[in-house]
Amino acid sequence: MPVKALLIAVLMALGTLTQAQGFAGLGTDADGFATPQRGTDLQFPRDHGPHPDFRIEWWYLTATLTGEDGVDYGIQWTLFRSALAPTEAEGWQSPQVWMGHAGLTTPTQHYFAERLARGGIGQAGVTAHPFDAWIDDWQMAGDDLSDLRLVARGDVFSYDLRMQADGALIRHGDNGYSVKSEAGQASYYYSQPAYQIDGVLHLPDGPVRVTGDGWLDREWSSQPLAEDQTGWDWFSLSFDDGERLMGFILRGAQGDFTSGTWIAADGTATALPHGAFQADPLGTTEVAGRQVPTRWRVYVPERGLDAQVMALNPNSWMGTAFAYWEGPVSVTGSHTGRGYLEMTGY
């Protein structure tokens, strides 16, 4: 389906984007899109809002939750923006396209929903202050980023959660400039990894009151992947001792590229250079007709981390137009805790 092709094209940023590399120094690529520049100072709350001159952008929230019934749950709420041209316009003439994904994972079930919307008409969008990110009736909104209400709805599930941050924003990479390949592809990337969450999940069996931890990722770019890169494995882990880890592997034909950020219990972030974060698949599960690694060994030797990461529900497949695996995980080994795993390109 071409709509899917569109999404894949913008999300995976194939072909033409990498050819545009030579223009990176000028700040725009061949199609006129802005490219991330090292040394740019992120400004808040301004940068919570959209950057229409960049090709792609997302507001990505994942949360590991526990119900009053003692059962573990996970939810995902994502708003993607992709620009067909580096401009904004009123009405249907806007070249901005928005996509929402919502997931709800239980140990035995995985629900998901998808929304698509045109920019320019108000069906979807983000405002920085007061913060409001929405698509259709899905919403993440509050006075500012530290106190938000999160709502999404599919045809058989919905959730309504309150999120309060108790820590500072984390800038990944070089003060928010996150390199994605050895050739130099990069994005702007920051996170709020420390939300306290409570609220209600509406499942087909009825409502469940839940509490837990949330992690918001903000990223925008015009060229996040190199030509040979086929997908990624991305981890966000919160350990019981208060430390946190963000790490990803970009799988490429000419070798994998890894990166990450170690977040101390006091909120101090340290970028992990290429190779410092490593993860190896330990076991796969057949999901949607493909072999997807749902058990991993994750290690950061310089931080003494050597742990096993296991999917809460190995079937956490997001069968959306652009399909991928996304679900809550548990951590055992040198560290214990919970987190989220996203895997694309399988």
């Binding site: 071409p2 249907w92 009736d137």
Partner: protein, 803 residues
């Protein structure tokens, strides 16, 4: 024994090849007309169904606003409340004399449409190209070809997944093509909705939820197909008269053989089974032949039907015929069922036939009087039922009920009426011969009454439909004369050129009348509002059906609006009422004008009024008033001076000719079916007379023995047939005129939205009358010739066999 019986059965047909041919031909004819109509209907319906799927309207619920287009903000409000809806902008794009239906959809929420979702679609286009200027147009190869030469259009992607004459595109592109920024005509409600979304009434109380299949077009096309089906049934019924006659004859002639077979020991049950089997084999053979013929007829008529459907109703219809199981089954089924129906009487007689007793002399008159009375009562009841249906119920179905009641009732009353006339006629008889002739006519009546009914129906249908079409044509011609008052029509390439042409023309012609329109929406359907400059051309010529005294002053001052008849009848607004053109613009209706051949609503206001309520109204078309002898020179000068294509200039005569051509094409199908039905009826008379022939010998022999010559008898045979046909034709006349009235005043109003005056065409009646006489005469000539050449010994044999 069975083998012997089969041989005996077969020998009959070998000795009577004409009868065999008649039986097969009659049945095949009936099946052919029926299945042709069914094939056309099936094809057209398949086209609609396919188009409905392709346009995402197959049973999909839609939301429409009662008061004009839906605002984008309202769409967003619905989406933000959780409603999964998808916007559609539906308009007409007119370029260089051609018009296309443009359907603008939001690509992202319409990914389910076949044009976007089909497996091959992925290779055809990139979504980003569709969403960003200049965008892409999706059209069928046929439509793409006619779009190809038009300037300033986005690139076209050919796809079989868009119906003909429709252009599918993104709503962002469509709103600019149609000049309707920020408007939505309807919202498609997606089949899967989230649980717990708020009710529609809370978010959008002004929107009405409906299923699209119950739309206006469906009702219109349904009436068209009902029309065709009625015609098909009529033809089939007429064909059945033939079969009935032939089967009756073959059984009658084989009475002796059947009796012999029974006497030889063939059980009655087996005899009956054999007879039924024989009939069924004939039915299948004739059915297959009929299907083949029907397929050919349908193939020949389909292009004209498509033209009608596209032209009158604006619905997509295919030009090519497919073999569809539904009409093959319906054709064969009707052939078998029809044969059964037509043979019931013959089989019943066979079953009841006394084994040994010789048949008594058939007295045709016996019981006829009682039958006549029953038929008359039923016929009158049917007639009344039709009238009652018309009085009690409104609409198309009631109209057809009235038609059916009239036709069937009249057919049933025919024999009693004829019998009554003959009885009255008999009183004028003086002398034995004339008395015998009258009595014989009456005696013969039950035998030919079925054939006469067929003739009556065919003639009445011919008169009725012919009167309707001719009245329509006359009205249409007069209307064209009024409507196309300007001598020359010119279309500029763009607004700037339009202004230049107007400036250049103004000093040298009597008047330049701009033809400018803007598409609004009224009750969910498009409403084209034309702005005119006040001019005598309109005041003198415009065909008004109803108006207020100061109609043109009201229009000129911008305080009144003219609407077309379709809109007036559909929305029930007439002079004195108010038309809401847009939420901010309502005007009292000053007049209603006739507007034939146009499926959509139309209104006329003053140009100033239109321009103050609509932005960017194109200014490209003009009517030019100029002395007729200057038209040729002027159009040549216009063409060279402004470098216009020859299609941009149309003179009045050319436009009229083209309109009449479209009109005539529309009724080709009706005309063809009409003629075929009449042919079948003539054939029915022939078969019934042939059937009667062998039965009549015992009746004629005594008259011959009393001294009348064979040539006298033969002449009388022809005269008798002519007399019966003439009487039937006379009765068919009022019936046909009644039919025409129902078609013009009831069916047309319901089906097309306009009422037509009825004109009478006595010359056509005379032609039909002569045609009926010719058919009856020809049909009588064959048996009369036989009688004339009959050896006297055969007539004598009648007495030799006498018991």
């Amino acid at each position: 024994m069975t083998r012997m019986a089969l041989l005996a059965f077969w020998s009959h047909w070998r000795r009577h090849p004409v009868q065999f041919f008649t039986l097969i031909a009659g049945l095949a004819l009936a099946t052919a007309l029926w299945s042709a109509v069914q094939a056309i209907n099936a094809e057209a319906r398949a086209s609609y169904a396919q188009a409905a799927v392709q346009l995402g309207v197959d049973g999909t619920e839609i939301l429409t606003a009662l008061d004009g287009p839906i605002a984008v903000s309202q769409y967003v409000a619905l989406r933000r409340a959780g409603w999964q809806v998808s916007p559609v902008l539906d308009g007409t794009l007119r370029r260089e004399g051609q018009s296309f239906r443009v359907l603008g959809v939001d690509l992202l929420s319409s990914a389910d449409l076949p044009a976007f979702a089909a497996p091959e679609a992925a290779q055809n286009f990139q979504a980003a190209d569709v969403l960003t200027p200049p965008g892409r147009l999706f059209a069928s190869p046929e439509t793409a070809a006619s779009l190809a030469h038009l300037p300033d259009l986005p690139p076209i992607i050919e796809t079989a997944n868009v119906p003909p004459d429709v252009v599918l595109t993104d709503i962002g592109i469509a709103e600019q093509l149609l000049n309707r920024s920020g408007q939505i005509d309807r919202l498609r409600v997606m089949p899967v909705q989230s649980a717990g979304i708020p009710p529609l009434a809370d978010i959008a109380p002004n929107l009405r939820r409906s299923t699209q299949t119950s739309g206006e077009t469906d009702r219109l096309t349904d009436s068209f197909h009902l029309n065709l089906t009625a015609f098909g049934l009529l033809a089939f019924a007429v064909g059945l008269f033939i079969v009935h006659g032939t089967v009756g004859l073959s059984f009658e002639q084989r009475r002796a053989m059947f009796r012999t077979l029974r006497a030889l020991g063939l059980p009655l049950r087996r005899l009956t089974v054999l007879a039924v089997a024989e009939l069924m084999i004939f039915a299948v053979i004739a059915g297959l032949l009929g299907l083949a013929a029907g397929y050919t007829i349908a193939g020949a008529l389909l292009p004209d039907v498509s033209t009608t459907l596209r032209g009158l109703y604006g619905v997509p219809a295919a030009n090519t015929l497919h073999l569809r199981p539904e009409w093959v089954a319906s054709g064969l089924g009707m052939a078998i069922l029809g044969t059964g129906l037509a043979s019931v009487q013959a089989l019943w007689r066979l079953w009841r036939m006394p084994l040994l007793a010789a048949p008594g002399l058939q007295s045709w008159a016996a019981g006829a009087r009682r039958t006549n009375r029953i038929m008359a009562v039923i016929g009158i009841a049917l007639f009344l039922a039709g009238v009652v249906a018309m009085v009690l119920f409104d609409g198309l179905v009631a109209g057809f009920a009235l038609l059916a009641g009239m036709m069937l009732g009249a057919a049933l009353i025919l024999a009693p009426i004829l019998s009554l006339i003959l009885r009255l006629g008999a009183r004028t008889a003086n002398g034995p011969i004339s008395e015998w002739i009258w009595a014989d006519l009456r005696a013969q009546l039950p035998g030919v009454s079925l054939a006469l009914m067929a003739l009556l129906l065919a003639l009445a249908a011919n008169i009725g439909v012919g009167t309707m079409v001719s009245s329509f044509r006359l009205t249409f011609t007069g209307w064209l004369d009024q409507r196309l008052a300007s001598e020359l029509y010119v279309t500029a390439r763009d607004d700037a050129q339009g202004a230049a042409i107007e400036d250049w023309l103004t000093p040298q012609v009597d008047a330049v009348l701009p033809i400018r329109s803007f598409e609004f929406s009224h009750a969910g359907t498009p409403l084209f509002v034309y702005g005119i400059r006040d001019h005598a051309t309109y005041r003198d010529n415009w065909p008004l059906l109803a108006y207020t005294p100061d109609v043109w002053d009201m229009v000129a001052s911008g305080t009144g609006v003219l609407i077309n008849e379709q809109l007036a009848r559909r929305s029930q607004i007439w002079p004195g009422d108010t038309l809401t053109i847009s939420p901010k613009w309502s005007l009292p209706v000053a007049g209603v004008y006739s507007d034939y051949g146009n499926p959509t609503g139309q209104a006329i206001v003053s140009l100033d009024a239109l321009l103050s309520h609509a932005r960017d109204v194109p200014n490209r078309r003009f009517g030019i008033r100029v002395a007729p002898d200057r038209v040729r020179a002027l159009s040549q000068e216009l063409q060279t001076r402004f470098d216009l294509p020859s299609t941009a200039l149309i003179n009045q005569a050319g436009l009229k000719a083209r309109s009449m051509e479209v009109f005539d094409k529309t009724f080709v199908v009706t005309g063809a079916l009409n003629l075929l039905t009449l042919g079948v009826a003539g054939f029915a008379i022939l078969t019934s007379l042939l059937t009667l022939w062998s039965l009549r010998l015992p009746q004629l022999a005594p008259v011959w023995a009393l001294g009348m010559t064979r040539s006298q008898l033969a002449r009388l045979e022809v005269v008798r047939s002519l007399a019966l046909a003439a009487l039937t034709a006379l009765i068919a006349l009022p019936l046909g005129l009644g039919l025409a009235w129902v078609l013009l005043a009831v069916i047309n109003v319901e089906a097309f939205g306009w009422r037509l005056p009825m004109y009478l065409f006595p010359l056509d009646w005379l032609r039909l009358f002569l045609l009926a006489l010719l058919a009856a005469g020809l049909a009588a000539v064959i048996p009369a010739r036989r009688l004339y050449r009959l050896p006297p010994s055969d007539l004598l044999k009648v007495f030799a066999d006498a018991r």
